[in-house]
Amino acid sequence: MLEIVGPYLPLILKGTWVTIAVSLVSLAVACLLGLLGAWAKLSHSKLANVVADAYTTLVRGVPDLVLMTIIFFGGQIGINSLVEAMGWDIYIEIDAFTAGVVSIGFIYGAYMTETFRGAILAVPKGQIEAAVACGMTRPTIFRRVLGPQMMRFALPSFGNNWLVLLKTTALVSVLGVQELVYNAFSAGRSTREMFTFMLVVCVIYLILTTISTTALRWAEHRYSVGVRRA
C-alpha cells in the first residue's frame, strides 16, 4: 500500500493543508456572521430580528452543496452584473477557494447564530447589569464580561458545528477546490486504486476530528474553571 500512496503523499498532504485552511477560514467567517446574527436576533430592532430569522431559516433548510453551488455560480454572476450596472468595465472572477470559504462560512454562520444566541442568553443578566453599572461601554462589556462567560455555554454546540463544518469542506471538491478529497480522487483515478486513496482520506479526517475533539474537551475544561460540579 505504501508504494502506491508514497509518490502521491506530497499531493495528499498539500490537499490536507488546503482542507485545514478552508475549514479554519470558513470557521472565522462563520463566527463573525454568527455573532452578528446573534446580536441581530437579540436586538430590539424588528427589522434585524426579521432579517436574522430569515437567514437562519433559509440556510438551515437548504443542503450545503445546493447553497454552495448557488453562491459559487450565482455570486459570480451577481457580482459581475452589479459591476456592470455600476458602469465599470471589469470582470471579477471569484476563485473556487474564496467561493467555498464564503459559502461554508455563510452556511455555518446560521448554525453559529443559534449557538451564540443561546450562550448569550445563558449568561446571568445581573452580570451585564453590573457591568453597565460600572460604566463599561458595550464593546468592553462584550470583551470582559459577556465573551468569556458565554464561551462555556457556547463551546459544546460550537464544537459540534466545527466537526460538521470540517466534514462539509469535502463538498467543495465538487466545485473544483483542490483539497484533500479532490487530490485523493485524482490520485485514485490515475492509479486505479480508489479504495486505497479514499481510505487514506478517511484516516486523515479521523485524525483531524480526533485532534479537534481532544482540543475541544480541553477548552471546555478550561472555560469551566470556577464552576462547581455536583
Partner: protein
C-alpha cells in the same frame, strides 16, 4: 432570469423529488432498524459487544459522507474479488451504493443518539422493572426502549434533516435526485441560478414538512412534559 426553464422541466424536478424521498426514507428506515440493536450493544457493559459498535460509529461519524460514498461506489471496484463475486451486479450500481452508504451513515448517527437516551434512563425505572420480575429482554422492550425513543425524538428530527441534506451526495454520483435533476437542467440550459434555486425551494419544502411532522410527534409523545393548561 429564465424561470420558464424551471417550469418547462418540471417532470424532471418531480422525478428528482420522488427519488430523493425514496432514498432518504428507505435509508432512514433501514438505518433505524440497524441502530436499535447496535445502540443496545453500544451501551452494554461487555467490551466485546460495545467496542466494535464504537469503532463503527467512530468511523462513520468522523468521515464525510461524500468520502464514504466514493469509498463504496468508486472504491470497491478496485478489488478483483469484489468484481468477481455475486454482489458486484449490486455494488456496480450507483443507486445501491448510495442506499448502502446512506443507511450505514444514518445508522451510525442514530446509534449514538439512541445510546445517549438509553443511558439517560432513570435507574429507578430499571430497578422497578427488575423488582416486578421482568427479564432483561422484557425490561428493554417495555421500559428502556419506549423511554429512550421518547427522549431521542428531538435529536432524531435533526438527524432526519441532516440525512436529507446529506442525500445530495447521490446527485454527485450521477443519481437523478433533486440536486441531480437541477444539475441536469443546468447542463441542458446553462441556467445554474434558476435550476439550483428551484432545487433549494424543493428541499426547503421537505424540511418544512419534516419539522411540522416532528412538532406533532413531540406534541403527542412529549405530552407528559408540557405544563398543564386548564
Amino acid at each position: 432570469m429564465h424561470w420558464d426553464v424551471v417550469f418547462d422541466n418540471w417532470p424532471l424536478l418531480l422525478q428528482g423529488l420522488w427519488t430523493t424521498l425514496v432514498y432518504v426514507s428507505a435509508s432512514l428506515v433501514l438505518g433505524l432498524m440497524l441502530a436499535i440493536p447496535l445502540s443496545i450493544m453500544r451501551s452494554s457493559s461487555n467490551r466485546f459487544l460495545s467496542w466494535p459498535v464504537w469503532a463503527f460509529t467512530y468511523f462513520f461519524r468522523g468521515t464525510p459522507l461524500l468520502v464514504q460514498i466514493y469509498l463504496i461506489y468508486y472504491g470497491l471496484g478496485q478489488f478483483e474479488s469484489v468484481r468477481e463475486s455475486f454482489v458486484w451486479p449490486v455494488l456496480r450500481e450507483a443507486s445501491w451504493c448510495a442506499l448502502l452508504g446512506f443507511t450505514l451513515n444514518t445508522a451510525a448517527y442514530v446509534t449514538e443518539i439512541l445510546r445517549g437516551s438509553i443511558q439517560a434512563t432513570p435507574y429507578g425505572e430499571v430497578e422497578a422493572a427488575t423488582a416486578c420480575g421482568m427479564s432483561r429482554a422484557q425490561t428493554y422492550r417495555r421500559i428502556i426502549m419506549p423511554g429512550a425513543f421518547r427522549r431521542a425524538l428531538p435529536a432524531y428530527g435533526n438527524e432526519v434533516i441532516f440525512m436529507l441534506h446529506g442525500s445530495v451526495v447521490a446527485g454527485v454520483i450521477t443519481i437523478l435526485d433533486i440536486y441531480g435533476a437541477a444539475k441536469k437542467i443546468n447542463a441542458l440550459t446553462y441556467t445554474y441560478f434558476e435550476s439550483m434555486l428551484a432545487a433549494a425551494v424543493l428541499y426547503m419544502l421537505i424540511v418544512y414538512v419534516i419539522t411540522r411532522v416532528f412538532k406533532r410527534a413531540e406534541l403527542r409523545w412529549h405530552a407528559h412534559l408540557r405544563p398543564r393548561t386548564e
